[in-house]
Subunit: 101 residues, 2 copies
């Protein structure tokens, strides 16, 4: 049930929000790339991605030695709408992420 709570919790951490913003373009990224961009250690990033995955926001795929994450393509429309609004707001307010390469 309380999907919204789960979603809000998932996005209430800077690293996780940052990851979501990075993945918002729909493309895949491996953990190591996310680490770089978000200035996170390996275990931290891995765990945060685990939380996002658990929340159903992202899916992962093994590709050789990498694990590539991307936005869950099967998100509920209402969830998608929230994410879209969040991404827009974060982009507008120069939030976190900032300089993305």
């Amino acid at each position: 049930m309380n999907t919204v709570i789960t979603l809000m919790s998932a996005l209430s951490d800077p690293t996780r929000l940052g990851a979501l913003l990075l993945l918002a373009d729909g493309k895949e990224r491996c953990v190591c790339k996310l680490m770089e961009h978000l200035n996170a250690t390996q275990s931290r990033m891995s765990r945060h991605m685990g939380v996002l995955k658990q929340a159903g926001l992202v899916v992962d795929r093994r590709d050789a030695q990498w694990v590539r994450y991307r936005l869950n393509p099967a998100l509920a429309p209402s969830t998608k709408a929230i994410i879209k609004a969040v991404v827009a707001a974060a982009a507008a307010s120069e939030d976190i992420v900032g300089k993305v390469a």
Copy 2:
């Protein structure tokens, strides 16, 4: 800065999200009414409303012995958009709140 994180944190608690949903109609409600609807104790509700206020989501007004809360009418458009999406999602998914009187 990280307005979005603050917002997400504020909404990642059932009682607070419930309060926001109740106030989403723009009308005022005193703490006691919120307590009733959300099944919360007095101190809990008061504190949660404090968090929402701190986050800038609601404003309060003293009216005799009551303190009436309402959505902050001066919310940033991007924040408003997020809230709107959240309210829609929560309403759709039969989240929390449920039976509002």
